[in-house]
């Protein structure tokens, strides 16, 4: 009797497991493509904010250079991608990932779009956990602050100007939050320096490289 009920219950539970697994598998298979697509759209949306469609004509998501923790200056914890925006064969902008390790609450992941001439096309915070209402003004949805980097370069302002106003630089800090903007300014500067140091490989363009190599 006991053996019978144990058998019956285990078979029943196993059947439940099979049914629910089937259900989940089905849903997964049905939504898999759409989820992949949504992820790409979300990823591209951030890139398009920096380089709008009228400034480039390639698919930035497919035109990438992999950078990782070993890449000097970017402070990345894992492999990320530099996205290249081109118009025709010319590289317009390289969108460089950079991590600010010194945010108020942990890492701030940024992408910095650097134009061919060394000026900034735009900076966006991809993920951060800064205090709502204070440090989260780095988020473009919350405040325009991050747009103040647009058009800046290593010469505008000079190196000493790349700091928040409290540190005698040119960038505003937020009321009540200096640590966050300080971290973002420093990380953006590092991305610019990286772009300058690697200008050739970033802006040479895939199509152009072999041609110049042959000449």
């Amino acid at each position: 009797m006991l053996r019978e009920s144990i058998t019956r219950n285990s078979v029943l539970l196993a059947m439940f497991a099979v049914c629910t697994t089937l259900l989940i598998t089905g849903t997964y298979l049905l939504t898999k493509d759409r989820i992949g697509e949504q992820k790409r759209i979300a990823e591209e949306k951030a890139l398009l904010q920096i380089v709008p469609r009228d400034r480039h004509d390639n698919s930035m998501l497919d035109d990438v250079i992999v950078v990782g923790p070993e890449t000097a200056g970017l402070g990345l914890a894992e492999d990320r991608r530099v996205y290249i925006a081109r118009k025709g064969e010319d590289v317009v902008t390289a969108i460089i990932p950079v991590t600010a390790p010194d945010g108020y609450t942990g890492d701030i992941e940024l992408i910095v779009g650097v134009n061919n001439d060394g000026s900034i096309a735009g900076v966006r915070a991809l993920s951060h956990r800064e205090t709502p209402g204070l440090g989260d003004k780095v988020d473009a949805r919350k405040s325009d602050w991050i747009l103040s980097f647009n058009g800046r370069s290593l010469k505008n302002p000079g190196l000493s100007g790349w700091a928040v106003k409290k540190d005698k630089g040119v960038f505003d800090q937020f009321t009540g939050a200096t640590i966050t903007p300080r971290a973002v300014v420093a990380a953006t500067l590092r991305a610019l320096q990286y772009a300058e140091a690697n200008h050739k490989s970033l802006f040479a363009g895939v199509a152009a490289t072999p041609a110049t190599g042959e000449e």
Binding site: S5, R8, N9, L12, L13, F16, A17, T20, T21, L23, I24, T27, Y28, T31, R34, I35, Q38, K39, I41, A42, T131, P132, G133, L134, R141
Partner: protein
């Protein structure tokens, strides 16, 4: 429990036995995601969907499963319902999925759901079980949304920001700025604010209940008064 009054069920889910402010179940997501209305609606919808699905399935299998394997079977059903809904939200409302993050899978551990599955759905026919899931979900959702609205309004001075995450690009301009140049009231947005406002909601509900009770007592008292007088006269005679 063959005769189930739908009126009673509604009253229970929405007010008398509200999962969030009377049973105090599922407080973790309640406190964590109610910083804005859009988050609250997202989690409310997901929770209600899971509740309906799990209540329906549990009611369907209520005669098959024995007591011994009741709970594991229910948990399996709930977990799979949550996973499916998580996948669907990822596919159709990706940004909201990103915002709700960990709180979607955590719906599995929301005691409201197991509580209703075990306490109601496993003893009732399909239709009442489904309705109970819906109304309990609505009761939970109402509190979520109310709390979200309160905290968003007091915290940022605006309402319905970022509704496009849930309702598509057409909802971008739903945002109502109630107070211009509002200095953000941080406490309302941070977790401690969630506790305080939940407490206030509970207090408010108790206040209304007390009011109703007093009124009912007053109604009851009147005929008693009359009866007393009759008795008094009876005494005198």
């Amino acid at each position: 429990m063959t005769d189930v009054s739908y009126r009673e069920l509604s009253l229970n889910g929405l007010w008398k036995n509200n999962p969030a402010i009377v049973q105090l179940l599922g407080l973790c997501p309640l406190l964590a995601v109610t910083a804005s209305v859009v988050n609250a609606i997202g989690l409310a919808a997901a929770t209600a969907m899971v509740l309906v699905c799990s209540n329906i399935s549990v009611s369907l299998i209520r005669n098959i499963v024995s007591d011994a394997i009741r709970l594991p079977a229910f948990v399996m059903i709930i977990a799979s319902a949550v996973t499916c809904i998580e996948l669907l939200m990822q596919a159709f409302t990706y940004e909201l999925y990103e915002i709700l993050g960990i709180f979607l899978p955590l719906i599995t551990t929301n005691c409201v759901i197991l509580g209703r599955a075990d306490g109601f759905a496993s003893r009732n026919r399909l239709a009442p079980a489904a309705y109970d899931g819906l109304i309990m979900g609505a009761g939970f959702g109402l509190v979520l949304i109310l709390l979200g609205a309160l905290r968003e309004l007091l915290g940022t001075g605006a309402l319905f920001a970022n509704m496009d995450l849930l309702f598509g690009p057409g909802a971008t301009d739903w945002k109502l700025t109630m107070i211009d140049d509002y200095p953000n009231f941080l406490l309302a947005i941070l977790p401690p604010g969630a506790f305080i406002f939940t407490g206030l909601l509970i207090a408010g509900k108790n206040l209304v209940d007390a009011q109703i009770k007093r009124r009912q007592d007053a109604l009851k008292a009147r005929p008693v008064k009359g009866a007393k007088r009759v008795r008094v006269t009876g005494h005198i005679s």
